[in-house]
């Protein structure tokens, strides 16, 4: 039963996008996933409006001090099993803002991260690749 559940999860990943202070570049690239050129709905991926509905949290941007408690709250609002993808180099290391006084740190110092997708901004193909890496991780969890 558990194995079947994971199979269904892999074929129906619902994504919630969270901007933690990015320049909006990565967000535009992530929203482009739903367009007819990239069409992630064919893989069962759907962008949802509430973290309660989501399986995957895609976080963009270096986390500003203001956004740190909000990011933690959004992560806590997601039902288990939940996964986090970091989109863009800002979230991985702080990017060009690495030594800013306003940063609460890269994302993995605040919530656990499953997949890192680099790029400035990250391309939609790269995010799809990140989703496929997440599916590989799911398969490993099954076995």
């Amino acid at each position: 039963m558990r194995l079947k559940a994971n199979k269904a999860l892999g074929r129906s990943l619902w994504v919630y996008l969270c901007n933690t202070g990015s320049c909006n570049g990565c967000d535009i690239e992530c929203v482009a996933l739903g367009t007819s050129r990239y069409d992630v709905e064919r893989l069962g991926v759907k962008i949802v409006g509430s973290p309660r509905h989501a399986d995957v949290l895609i976080v963009t941007g270096p986390v500003t001090r203001k956004m740190e408690p909000r990011l933690r709250m959004i992560y806590e609002q997601m039902p288990d099993p939940r996964f986090v993808i970091v989109a863009g180099v800002c979230g991985m290391s702080g990017g060009m803002f690495y030594d800013s006084y306003a940063l609460a740190g890269p994302i993995d110092q605040i919530i656990p991260v499953d997949v890192y997708v680099p790029g400035c901004p990250t391309r939609p193909e790269a995010v799809i690749h990140g989703l496929s890496l997440l599916l590989e991780k799911l398969e490993k969890m099954e076995s």
Binding site: G44, V48, G49, H53
Partner: protein, 330 residues
């Protein structure tokens, strides 16, 4: 005793039937809309994966929710949607299971209950987004009830004026297609009512352009914003069953013909053919009223929903009613 056993069998059979068909129809809808937007789109069985996944996810209770009501609302919604199927003729599988115990008026009320359960669940979730969504859902319900009730009352009045016994029974409406009793003017009226019904359906199912209660981009999922896991899955199943119910209601009122009425077929083959024809009719109606509208339009503002349903669609329904009246007098 056998009677009770039969009823229980019917409950499970119809629940399975409604859920399966509803999910298949919503899969078809997603595929068709994707093709219209020149996308590839999800596989046909995508809604099954979604529901199976949701059933296996954690069902969270928000901190300031009212637990009992919050958990009961999705169950009530699904139960009411399945109950509705007992009173509708479902093509080929004979008369409604509870034929004679409830009529079109009861069906109208039962159609309201899933929406009401969503409203109550939305308020019980304790989120301001859900509260706004719930208020919009109530306004939408008030709006589409007028044209829907006008359509059903017109049919009942026509049958009553012909002296048919039990004019409000849906089984009788299915057995007596209205097209045979009206002249040219009346046919025009029935066509208008048909279009009114096609426009009421997306409002009833909360689909674009009448999905302002859910409004993912502005209300973050609106009425369902706090629901997760099993409860969300139950709401989705209720909506799927309601899709089948609305399709069956439209078929009952406007396209109640059967294949076996035209071609002489042996009984079992005839039943299968009738059933397949019923599915084709439901799919055809849902294609126009749900998929095409959804692909072609953006979301309407809630004030436009009210004006649209009361002023334009409502007066169109009244014009249809008047045409049928005139047809009967003249």
């Amino acid at each position: 005793m056998a009677d009770v056993f039969y009823s229980i069998l019917c409950v499970f059979g119809l629940a399975f039937y409604g859920i399966f068909l509803g999910l298949v129809f919503s899969g078809v809808d997603r595929m068709v809309v994707a093709r219209m937007q020149s996308r590839i789109g999800p596989p046909l069985f995508q809604p099954f994966f979604d529901v199976l996944k949701l059933l296996n996810k954690q069902d969270m209770l928000p901190a300031n929710a009212v637990p009992g009501i919050f958990r009961m609302a999705p169950v009530v919604a699904l139960a009411a949607a399945v109950t509705l199927l007992f009173y509708l003729p479902l093509g080929g599988i004979g008369a409604p299971v509870l034929e004679g115990r409830g009529d079109a008026i009861l069906a109208l009320y039962l159609l309201l209950i899933p929406g009401l359960a969503m409203v109550i669940g939305g308020f019980a979730g304790g989120s301001p987004y859900a509260a706004i969504g719930a208020q919009r859902e109530m306004v939408t319900m008030i709006s589409y009830e007028l044209p829907l009730a006008t359509v059903i009352l017109t049919f009942a009045w026509k049958l009553a004026s012909l002296g048919v016994a039990q004019p409000f029974s849906l089984g009788v409406m299915a057995a007596q297609p209205i097209w045979g009793y009206v002249g040219l003017l009346g046919s025009l009226g029935v066509v208008i009512l048909f279009f009114v019904m096609l426009l009421v359906t997306p409002g009833e199912l909360g689909r674009i352009p009448f999905d302002s209660p859910e409004a993912e981009t502005e209300l973050a999922g609106g009425i369902l914003v706090e629901y997760s896991g099993r409860s969300l899955a139950l709401f989705q199943l209720a909506m799927a069953v309601k899709t089948v119910a609305m399709g069956a209601l439209m078929v009952t009122l406007f396209l109640p013909w059967n294949v076996s009425g035209w071609i002489a077929l042996p009984a079992p083959v005839g039943a299968v053919a009738d059933f397949l024809f019923f599915l084709v009719k439901v799919g055809f109606l849902l294609f126009f009223s749900v998929s095409v509208l959804r692909a072609a339009m953006a979301r309407l503002r809630i004030s436009d929903v009210v004006t649209g349903y009361w002023k334009w669609i409502g007066s169109a329904a009244v014009v249809g009613l008047l045409l049928i009246l005139l047809d009967a007098k003249g």
